[in-house]
Symmetry: C2
């Protein structure tokens, strides 16, 4: 019998606790401080205990990164469900993506950090999958050709992802991103998609 939520991982799920601690750390300071020693300390456990659940520090980092991506995917799904109309739903995906990047810059950077090791399972849900579903809907409504779905997907993702990085100040290029800036970008993306 479980005590519903992880409380004491003397016997509880240390694995989940470590990932949650990593997400907390990510929220606060991005990709720094995702090391084994640090995270073990933050859940009051000896470093060795980590290796009961993860084969290496990199695979723990990969699990944290995956969790952050799934968090993003969930928000995209929720945003799409909240509005009606094919175009509005598609646009909501982009808005949610950029909003996530701006409001959770730490999680965002961790979500796409390079890991030496692939995650143990596939992303579920995956942001990429959510985007493809949205594009399929555009296709079903006859807004774009079936043959164009792939390049439209790459284009939409690139634009929104690139803008998110830009606005995030990760690049030393330009920092600001007002709601109008975001809206204009999504307009241009939409124009590009319809032109396909």
């Amino acid at each position: 019998m479980e005590t519903v939520k992880a409380k004491k991982y003397h016997h509880g799920n240390l694995e989940e606790a470590l990932v949650l601690a990593g997400l907390r750390e990510a929220q606060a300071s991005g990709t720094r401080n995702l090391g084994v020693t640090h995270l073990a300390k933050s859940v009051s456990v000896s470093p060795m205990a980590v290796y009961r659940h993860f084969s290496s520090g990199e695979s723990l980092k990969a699990a944290i990164s995956q969790n952050a991506r799934e968090n993003l995917a969930h928000r995209m799904q929720a945003a799409a469900l909240a509005v009606s109309g094919t175009r509005n739903r598609f646009r909501a995906l982009g808005e949610a993506y950029i909003h996530f990047a701006l409001t959770e810059p730490g999680l965002f950077s961790v979500a796409f950090v390079a890991c030496d090791v692939p995650p143990a399972r596939e992303d579920d849900p995956s942001a990429w999958g959510v985007l493809q579903a949205g594009i399929q809907e555009l296709c079903d409504d006859g807004l774009i050709a079936q043959s164009a779905t792939e390049s439209v997907a790459a284009f939409a993702w690139s634009s929104v992802h690139g803008f998110a990085m830009l606005a995030n100040g990760l690049d030393p290029v330009r920092p600001q991103a007002t709601p109008e800036d975001i809206s204009k970008l999504l307009d241009l993306v939409w124009d590009g998609i319809l032109g396909a």
Copy 2:
């Protein structure tokens, strides 16, 4: 009198030698191995010598990153000069950007790595400035409105930068980028721009 090229930095320019060593390292392994100790070793100098030229390890990293960005900007300029016609020149900027990211993934990632310290001087040339010049040309030719230049710049940069990251496999999303993929992306970007 100088011996034309930095040979012995017992008396020569260690500063330049360190940055060049950093670029070599970046080319080989990206943002790893850009530390003071490592770079000092790679030019056969004691770590302390670095601090004669840079106030900290971070400011050395910032200088290397800046140099990588300027390298990118140079290639964009050269690509634009090699073709004629407003549209072709603009497209060449995007192609050069993506080509740089694909052929020099290490330099590309270092160019946009987050540094704790700003570079000592402004980028010269700056990739962002080169892009803006290209957009101004579009404007002069009446292809886009002057009022749209800012959002077009953000859009073009975002799309191309995002695609480059994507194709680079930095994101665990999708890896491939054939010349056709690149061409299609740039078509869609162009459609978006003209729709502005």
